[in-house]
C-alpha cells in the first residue's frame, strides 16, 4: 500500500478512459433539460420515496445519478428532504406500515407537489394487489401525476417518464 501512495504522490497521474455517453440518452436528457428550463426555471428537485418496493427501483434511480447517466447535467437533482422537492418519485406498493410516512412526506413538500409512480408495484400494486399488507398503488394515497411501469423500469424509461411529465405540465400551463 505504501508503494501505491508513493506512486500516487510522485508518479505520473493516470486518468482512465471514460466511454462516451450513448447518444439516445443524451438526446432524451437534452430534451428534458429544455423542458426543465422552461417549466421549472432550470432545475428539477427530485425526492425519492420508497413506500414498499423490493429495492430494484431504488437501484435504478440511484443509477440515474451515477456517472453513466449523470442526470444532474440535465438539471435533475436528488434532494435529501421533501421540503426541497418539486417531484416525488414513489416506488413500490404502499404498505400499511409506510402509509402514514408517505402521507407526511408528501405534506412536507412545497405545493403544488408532483408525484410520479415508478415501477409496476407503485403504478397499481403489481403482484402485491389484494394482500393484507398493502393499500395498493401510490394513487391509493396520493394524487399521481405520471406512472412509469416496469419491474423495475430502466434508467432510460424513468427519464422518458420525466420527459412525459414535463410535456404534461407544459400542456396544462398553456391551456390553463
Amino acid at each position: 500500500m505504501i508503494s501505491e501512495v508513493i506512486k500516487n504522490v510522485f508518479g505520473k497521474k493516470k486518468t482512465s478512459a471514460v466511454k462516451p455517453q450513448e447518444s439516445d440518452f443524451q438526446k432524451l436528457g437534452l430534451q428534458l433539460k429544455r423542458d426543465i428550463d422552461t417549466v421549472f426555471g432550470r432545475s428539477l428537485a427530485v425526492r425519492e420515496l420508497d413506500s414498499g418496493s423490493d429495492n430494484a427501483a431504488e437501484i435504478e434511480i440511484n443509477n440515474l445519478a451515477a456517472p453513466y447517466y449523470d442526470v444532474e447535467r440535465f438539471g435533475v437533482t436528488f434532494v435529501a428532504s421533501p421540503r426541497h422537492a418539486d417531484v416525488i418519485l414513489i416506488t413500490g406498493a404502499v404498505t400499511l406500515n409506510m402509509a402514514a410516512a408517505v402521507r407526511k412526506t408528501f405534506d412536507a413538500m412545497p405545493q403544488p407537489g408532483l408525484v410520479v409512480a415508478v415501477g409496476d408495484d407503485a403504478c397499481d400494486g403489481g403482484i402485491l394487489q389484494g394482500t393484507y399488507a398493502v393499500l395498493g398503488g401510490a394513487d391509493r394515497i396520493l394524487h399521481v401525476d405520471a406512472k412509469i411501469p416496469g419491474n423495475p423500469p430502466s434508467p432510460e424509461e424513468i427519464m422518458l417518464g420525466l420527459v412525459t411529465l414535463m410535456a404534461q405540465i407544459k400542456k396544462k400551463k398553456s391551456t390553463g
Binding site: D50, N55, A56, A80, R103, Y132
Partner: protein, 523 residues
C-alpha cells in the same frame, strides 16, 4: 451433527420424520421432539457449538395445530438438523436465553401466528406495526388474504424504543424516510456528544406480506414472489425457491440450466458488491473513487439485460431449470466482457487503497466482534470480514458449486476496511467463477419437467449478502407455506453492536459496508 442427532434420538426419543431423504441438498434431518423436552434439548445444544440457522412455524403440519421448526447448523458440517415441535395451544417456551438470535424469530412468529413465547425477553410486535389491529395474525389459515380496512385518521400508540437517558444523552431519530435514495427503516440513536451510545433499529416498513401472498399459488406463479423478496437478490432467491421445489418433486435441473444459474448468481454478487464499494467511497465523500465502481456496475447490469432481458435477472429462473435458453453468442459476449474486468477493478481498488484519508475513515470503523457471528448467525461478507470462514457455497454446496473453486478471503479486522477488501476480493473470485463456468457450459436442455407433488423441502443459497434459507411446503400442487429467511434478517441486528462508540457521521458508511436489504428483511 450426526452424534447430536443420535444423542437426541436416544435421550429424548426424538423421532425422525420420513422426509429425511439421503442425497438431498442441503442434507437436512428432521426430528420430531416433544414439547416438554424443548428447554432441556436447547440447554444441551447450547453446549454443542451449533448455530440456530432458522426458526419458523407452520399450521397443521404435524398432528398438532402448529409446528415450530428449529433449524440447526454446525460449522463445517453439511448436515442440517431441523427439530420439529408440535404444539396444540398457541404457546411455547422462548429459547432466546440459549440462542439470542431466536428473539427476532419468536417475535416474527408471534405476529404471524399469534403464538405466545413465554419467558421471552422482548414481546413487542415485529412486522406488524401499530397500525394493525390487536389480535390480527395474517399467517393463520383462518385468515383469507384480503386488503385490510384501516382507519388512518385514528392515532396509533407509539412503539416503545429502548432509549437511553441520563445527563448529556440525547436521541437522534432517523427514518423511515432517509436523506439518500434508499429503502425505509428507522434508526433510533442515543448519542453523547457525537458518539453513539446506543442504537435501536426498527424495520419492517416494507412488509408486503409475501409469505401469505405465496400461499395458494402454483410453484411457477410463486417465482415472482421469490424474486420480489429483494430486487437485487432476484437470482439467488428464485434459485433457492426453485431448488426447494425441485427437491420436493424429486428432479434435478439440467447441467446447462445450472451453468447459466451459476453465472447469474455470480453476476448478481458482482453488481451488488460493486454498488457497496461505490457506496462506501461515496459515503466518505470520495465520488471520484466511486465512479469507477459505478461504471463497472452499470456494465454488469447491462450484461444481465443482454443475457436475460432483465437488468436484475428477473423472470428467468424457474423450478425445473430456466424459462428460456440463452443463446451461446450472448454467453460469448459475456466471456469477452470479463477479459479485462479484473484489471479494471484492481485499478479502481488501488485508487481507494492509495488514498490515505479514505483508509483513515474505513479503518477501525464499525467493528463487528467475531464473538457475535455464531450467536446471531451472521453470514456473508459481514462474517467473513470478522475472520469467520462461512460460505454456503462451500459449507452446503449446491448445483455446480460442488465442483467449482470458491475462494475465501477472510479478514480479521471486522471493520469497514475489512468488509471493503473482502467484497473487492470476492468480485474477482466471482469473475473467475463465471469464466470457469463459461468454459464448461455445453449444449443441452435448460429445463426438466417439474410436476408438483406434495411435500416440503429446505434450500440454502449464498446470496451477495450471505446465506438465504427457503422452506417450501407444497400441498395439492400449490404452495401451502413458504418461509424465507434472508441473510439480512440475521445480519441487521449486528449493526446495533457495530456502531457503538462510533460517531453518528460514520453511520452511513458502516451501514453501506454491510448493505443489508430492508425489503429482504421485511418480506
Amino acid at each position: 451433527m450426526q452424534t447430536i442427532i443420535e444423542e437426541l434420538e436416544g435421550r429424548f426419543k426424538a423421532t425422525p420424520l420420513a422426509v429425511s431423504v439421503p442425497g438431498k441438498i442441503p442434507k437436512a434431518v428432521y426430528l420430531k421432539i416433544d414439547e416438554k423436552s424443548v428447554s432441556e434439548i436447547m440447554l444441551l445444544l447450547e453446549g454443542k457449538d451449533v448455530i440456530l440457522a432458522g426458526l419458523f412455524a407452520a399450521e397443521n403440519f404435524t398432528g398438532e395445530k402448529f409446528a415450530l421448526f428449529y433449524i440447526f447448523e454446525k460449522r463445517g458440517d453439511p448436515v442440517l438438523m431441523a427439530l420439529v415441535v408440535g404444539i396444540d395451544e398457541a404457546k411455547a417456551a422462548s429459547v432466546a436465553a440459549h440462542f439470542p438470535g431466536a428473539c427476532y424469530y419468536e417475535r416474527e412468529i408471534a405476529d404471524g401466528f399469534g403464538i405466545e413465547f413465554t419467558r421471552a425477553f422482548d414481546k413487542r410486535r415485529l412486522f406488524l406495526h401499530e397500525v394493525y389491529p390487536e389480535g390480527f395474525h395474517p399467517l393463520l389459515k383462518s385468515f383469507k388474504n384480503k386488503p385490510m380496512d384501516i382507519d388512518f385518521s385514528k392515532p396509533v400508540k407509539e412503539y416503545a424504543f429502548r432509549e437511553c437517558s441520563g445527563e448529556g444523552i440525547y436521541q437522534v431519530p432517523v427514518g423511515p424516510v432517509h436523506a439518500g435514495v434508499i429503502e425505509p427503516g428507522h434508526f433510533r440513536f442515543s448519542v453523547i456528544g457525537e458518539t453513539i451510545f446506543n442504537l435501536e433499529i426498527r424495520h419492517f416498513y416494507t412488509h408486503r406480506g409475501l409469505e401469505k401472498l405465496a400461499e395458494g399459488k402454483t410453484p411457477l406463479e410463486c417465482c415472482s414472489v421469490a424474486e420480489s423478496v429483494s430486487g437485487d437478490e432476484s437470482a439467488a432467491n428464485a434459485t433457492a425457491f426453485a431448488m426447494a421445489v425441485e427437491d420436493i418433486c424429486g428432479i434435478k435441473a439440467p447441467l446447462r440450466a445450472w451453468c447459466i444459474r451459476t453465472i447469474l448468481l455470480e453476476l448478481e454478487r458482482v453488481y451488488s458488491h460493486l454498488g457497496d464499494l461505490a457506496g462506501m467511497a461515496l459515503d466518505v465523500a470520495f465520488p471520484l473513487g466511486a465512479a469507477a465502481f459505478f461504471n463497472l456496475r452499470e456494465e454488469t447490469l447491462r450484461q444481465n439485460a443482454a443475457l436475460t432481458g432483465s437488468r436484475f435477472s428477473k423472470g428467468i429462473v424457474v423450478p425445473g431449470g430456466l424459462k428460456k435458453d440463452i443463446a451461446q453468442s450472448k454467453l460469448g459476449g459475456l466471456q469477452a466482457y470479463t477479459n479485462d474486468f479484473v484489471a479494471r477493478l484492481e485499478s479502481a481498488v488501488a485508487v481507494i487503497n492509495a488514498s490515505g484519508w479514505v483508509i483513515d475513515r474505513f479503518e477501525t470503523t464499525g467493528v463487528i466482534d467475531k464473538a457475535l457471528v455464531a450467536p446471531l448467525n451472521l453470514s456473508g461478507p459481514a462474517a467473513r470480514a470478522s475472520g469467520v470462514k462461512v460460505d454456503t457455497r462451500l459449507d452446503h454446496p449446491y448445483g455446480l458449486y460442488e465442483k467449482l473453486r470458491v475462494e475465501e478471503y477472510p479478514r480479521d479486522g471486522g471493520d469497514v476496511l475489512a468488509r471493503f477488501s473482502v467484497k473487492a476480493d470476492e468480485i474477482k473470485n466471482s469473475i473467475r467463477l463465471i469464466q470457469d463456468v463459461l468454459d464448461q457450459t455445453g449444449g443441452g436442455p435448460v429445463s426438466a419437467e417439474c410436476k408438483a407433488v406434495d411435500g416440503h423441502a429446505m434450500s440454502l443459497v449464498e446470496a451477495a449478502r450471505g446465506q438465504n434459507l427457503h422452506w417450501v411446503w407444497l400441498k395439492n400442487g400449490r404452495v401451502e407455506r413458504y418461509k424465507v429467511r434472508t441473510a439480512s434478517f440475521c445480519n441487521w441486528p449486528v449493526i446495533e453492536h457495530a456502531v457503538l462508540g462510533n460517531i453518528v457521521a460514520d453511520f452511513p458508511v458502516i451501514n453501506k459496508s454491510l448493505n443489508l436489504s430492508y425489503a429482504g428483511n421485511d418480506l
